[in-house]
C-alpha cells in the first residue's frame, strides 16, 4: 500500500525553492489556493500545479505589536499583508521594507523561513 500524496506537497516544494505554486483544476482550469482536495467550481479531483506569476496587490493588512509567540518578540512590529495575486487567489505573508502598506500597493512574493523553519511568503514592494 502506498501513502496518499499530500495535496499540499507541490505548494511546499515550491515554497522551499522560493516560488509560489498554486493548484489549477485539471478539468475546468480554475486556479485555487489554499490547497484543497477538489475544485470548488466543478468538484473535480484532477489537479495540476501552476507556478504563480508572483506579482500582486495589497488587499488589506495588520501591523502586529504584540508577541503572540515569544519567538517573534524580536520581529516586532511586523506587518502581515493579504495580497490579491494576479491568478485571482490571495496569499498572506510578511511585508518587508519600510513602505507603509496601502490598498492596491503592488508587491512581489519571495519566501523566507518562518516559525519552525517553515517557508513563509514575504512581499517586497514593486517599483512603479
Amino acid at each position: 500500500m502506498t501513502e496518499p500524496e499530500d495535496i499540499a506537497a507541490p505548494y511546499w516544494r515550491g515554497a522551499a525553492e522560493g516560488v509560489l505554486v498554486l493548484q489549477r483544476c485539471g478539468n475546468c482550469g480554475v486556479v485555487r489556493h489554499y490547497p484543497r482536495a477538489i475544485c470548488s467550481a466543478c468538484q473535480s479531483e484532477l489537479v495540476e500545479p501552476q507556478q504563480a506569476d508572483g506579482r500582486g496587490t495589497v488587499h488589506s493588512w495588520t501591523v502586529t505589536h504584540h508577541a503572540f509567540d515569544p519567538r517573534l518578540a524580536d520581529d516586532l512590529p511586523y506587518t502581515l499583508v493579504t495580497v490579491d495575486m494576479r491568478e485571482g487567489v490571495r496569499v498572506l505573508g510578511r511585508l518587508d521594507g519600510d513602505t507603509a502598506p496601502a490598498i492596491d500597493l503592488p508587491v512581489r512574493i519571495t519566501f523566507a523561513p518562518g516559525l519552525d523553519g517553515t517557508p513563509v511568503p514575504h512581499f517586497v514592494v514593486e517599483a512603479p
Binding site: H59, W61, H66, F68, T82
Partner: protein, 382 residues
C-alpha cells in the same frame, strides 16, 4: 408563533485566576439556571454543551441524576454556538424530541492556553495553522484585523468609532455588578491603550476570563407553568461567510455570517428592526460589533462608524447594546452571557442597566472565522 421559551438563566461569579475548574463552573451555572426556572436537575432531558471546554453530556447525566436523556448535540461554531444551541434546543423541543434543554458553558482560561494557542487545536483553523501561523498570524485579533482595516480604508471608519463601542460597553459593565472591569474608561483611554495588532488596541479586545453561564429552554406551554416570566424565541437563523475556513481567501472581507442569517431571523420572528428594544451583539472585538450592526441591517454596509456615534448604543440611546458589558468588559462567556442578559432584559430584571419597557430583543453569535447566529426573543405572557 413561538415554539420554545427560555425559562431559566444562571451565571457564576466572573473572575480571573479562578481556583475552580471549567466543569465546576458549568455545573454551578447550570444548577443556578435550573433553580431559576423552578425546575430540578432531573427534569432536564436535553443537553447542548457549549465550546471546546464543554464537559461531555454524560457528566450531566451522572451529576444531575438524569434518568432519561432524550437529546444531546454539539454546535461546533465557537462564539456562534450559544445562539446555535438556542435555535437547536427550540427545534428539538418543537419536534417533540425532548421537553427541557440545558445549554451550559464554563471555562477556566487562566490555567489553560490563551486564545492564540487554543484556536490551533481546532480543525476548522487548519489553513491558518498550516499556512499563516508560521508567518506570525497566530491569534484571533490578527485574523480579524485585516477585516477591520479593509473596512476603514473603504469606508473611512475610524479607531475613535471603535472606541465609542469600547466606552459604551464599559459603562454598561459598571452597572452590571458582575463585570470583571470595574473602572470607567474614556475615548482618550481607548486611544492611549497600547496597539496590539493594528487597528486593534488593547481596549478593542475582549477579556480572557473564568466562570460559567447557562440557560434552560422548554416549550411555551410548559413555560407558562414555571417560576419566571417566560421569554419566547420568536425566530432564529444561522449563517456562514463565504470561505468560512480562510478569511484570507474570503471575497468580501467586510461581511460576516450574520449577513446571511439576519433577514431569515427577522422574517421568522415577524418583527422589524424598529421593534428591537435591546441588542446583545457578539463583541470579541469592537469592530465585530460595528460590522454585525451593518450585516444585521440596522444600517447600510459602510455606515457602521457613524451609526455607533452619538450614544446610539448606550442606555437611553436608540439601540442599547451589550447592556451587561459584553465580552469586552463583563466576561468572555462565548455569548452565553449575552443570552442570559437578553432574557433578564425582557423579564425586566436587568437591574441598573434595565432598558425601560424592553419587550423584544436580539442576540447574535460570531464564531471562529465569522460563523454567525441571530435570535430574536420577546417577553412572554405568564
Amino acid at each position: 408563533m413561538s415554539r420554545a421559551s427560555v425559562v431559566g438563566v444562571g451565571e457564576t461569579e466572573y473572575t480571573k485566576r479562578s481556583p475552580r475548574t471549567a466543569l465546576q463552573h458549568q455545573l454551578e451555572a447550570s444548577l443556578t439556571a435550573i433553580a431559576d426556572a423552578g425546575l430540578t436537575p432531573g427534569d432536564v432531558d436535553g443537553v447542548i454543551p457549549i465550546g471546546i471546554t464543554g464537559a461531555p453530556v454524560e457528566e450531566y447525566v451522572a451529576d444531575f441524576g438524569i434518568t432519561d436523556l432524550r437529546f444531546s448535540a454539539v454546535v461546533p461554531h465557537g462564539g456562534a454556538s450559544a445562539v446555535g444551541a438556542l435555535q437547536l434546543a427550540g427545534a428539538a423541543i418543537a419536534a417533540g424530541l425532548c421537553s427541557t434543554v440545558l445549554v451550559p458553558f464554563g471555562r477556566n482560561t487562566s490555567s489553560g492556553a490563551k486564545a492564540g494557542q487554543r484556536i490551533h487545536t481546532m480543525p476548522q483553523f487548519h489553513f491558518v495553522s498550516e499556512y499563516e501561523r508560521p508567518a506570525g498570524n497566530i491569534a484571533p485579533a490578527q485574523l480579524y484585523a485585516p477585516m477591520a482595516r479593509r473596512h476603514m480604508e473603504l469606508y473611512g471608519t475610524t479607531s475613535e468609532q471603535f472606541g465609542e463601542i469600547a466606552v459604551s460597553t464599559r459603562e454598561h459593565a459598571l452597572l452590571n455588578g458582575r463585570g470583571l472591569m470595574t473602572r470607567p474608561i474614556t475615548l482618550a483611554d481607548h486611544q492611549a491603550s497600547r496597539m496590539i495588532t493594528d487597528p486593534f488596541r488593547l481596549l478593542d479586545c475582549s477579556l480572557e476570563s473564568d466562570g460559567g453561564a447557562a440557560f434552560v429552554v422548554t416549550s411555551p406551554e410548559r413555560a407558562r407553568d414555571l417560576a419566571q416570566t417566560p421569554v419566547d424565541l420568536l425566530g432564529s437563523a444561522m449563517g456562514h461567510p463565504d470561505s468560512p475556513s480562510s478569511i484570507t481567501q474570503r471575497p468580501d472581507l467586510t461581511r460576516v455570517g450574520v449577513a446571511k442569517a439576519a433577514a431569515l431571523a427577522f422574517e421568522a420572528a415577524g418583527v422589524t428592526h424598529a421593534d428591537i428594544d435591546v441588542a446583545e451583539i457578539y463583541d470579541c472585538f469592537t469592530y465585530i460589533v460595528l460590522c454585525q450592526l451593518e450585516d444585521l441591517g440596522f444600517c447600510a454596509k459602510g455606515e457602521g462608524g457613524p451609526f455607533v456615534e452619538g450614544g446610539r448604543l448606550r442606555l437611553g440611546g436608540e439601540l442599547p447594546t451589550n447592556t451587561h458589558g459584553g465580552l469586552l468588559s463583563q466576561s468572555h462567556m462565548l455569548a452565553v452571557n449575552h443570552v442570559v442578559e437578553l432574557v433578564r432584559q425582557l423579564r425586566g430584571t436587568a437591574g441598573a442597566a434595565q432598558v425601560a419597557g424592553a419587550e423584544t430583543g436580539l442576540v447574535t453569535g460570531y464564531g471562529d472565522m465569522g460563523d454567525g447566529g441571530v435570535a430574536i426573543l420577546r417577553k412572554g405572557t405568564s
